[in-house]
């Protein structure tokens, strides 16, 4: 089993939306960062929705990407919402105390209502 990351990005109601499936680790983090950068440049939004229903694993390499994104947009109305975060993925954010910077949602509709 190859520990890969599949990404999909689109724009909806002014938010930059991403679907992440697989593993965000030191091997895949660079491609995630590059993908978010390229899509964000197209979408030009400070609001981000990540559907992480299919995300199996995240390490500090991935958390750093989300934190840097938060840091970049925190003073310009930025928001970051994670949909369907698995307990073991959420735990990593909790371990470093970062969940306070993000919003959790259980569905895409709920995420949209929070944007």
């Amino acid at each position: 089993m190859q520990e890969e990351l599949k990404m999909n990005g689109w724009q909806e109601n002014g938010a930059a939306c991403f679907s992440l499936v697989g593993y965000v680790n030191i091997e895949t983090a660079d491609s995630l960062l590059e993908y978010i950068r390229s899509r964000s440049a197209d979408i030009k939004s400070s609001k981000f929705i990540f559907d992480v229903t299919g995300l199996e694993y995240v390490s500090s390499a991935g958390i750093k990407i989300f934190m840097d994104l938060y840091d970049k947009y925190k003073f310009s109305g930025g928001k970051m919402i994670f949909i369907n975060m698995k307990p073991d993925v959420k735990r990593v954010f909790d371990l470093v105390g970062f969940m306070k910077y993000f919003i959790e949602a259980s569905s895409f509709d709920e995420a949209m209502n929070n944007i």
Binding site: Y23, S60, I63, K64, D88, V92, L95, V96, G97
Partner: protein
Amino acid sequence: MNQNNAEYHLFSGSSLLEEDTKNRLAEEYESVRKRNSKLSISFSTRDFSPPVKLGFLQQKTREVLALFIDNKIILSDLLIAFEEAAANIIEHSYSAGEEPVIDFRFLFDNSMITIIIDDFGKKGGDFRIENTGRFSSPEDIGENYLKTGGGMGLFLIRRIMDKISYEVKPGEYNRFTMLKHI
């Protein structure tokens, strides 16, 4: 190592753990637990064709840990600690472009898992685990990261593992050891 302990060095070009190996290790684990001893499973970057990527090593580590750890949270925690430790070792013990030589050993017994990572990098000793003591809480690390952009990896290891140590034997090896009660 105690003579009652069981040691296995795993190597295979394509799959680290074939089904019959898994079954043999499961039986051995039950046996060492009854004897109150340890099961040691090891592999090395030397077992694989270079370049050996960290993601690949983590995948092999997942296969080993998943043999005996059913709890998904504990398994995920251990993989996080492994990734952070290995990334730090590669960064601090080896120069850019240098192919790291690292030996990994996993010790299982009734109540704990110990992960021992030996590297042979010339830059050994440049890795300071005591620096992690400067964060006392997750809140500290969050605010610190936003200010400085660093310090998260080793803090995560400390949060996950019960004990860590780093030993440098110049000319021999640098050994990072992590222990967790399970």
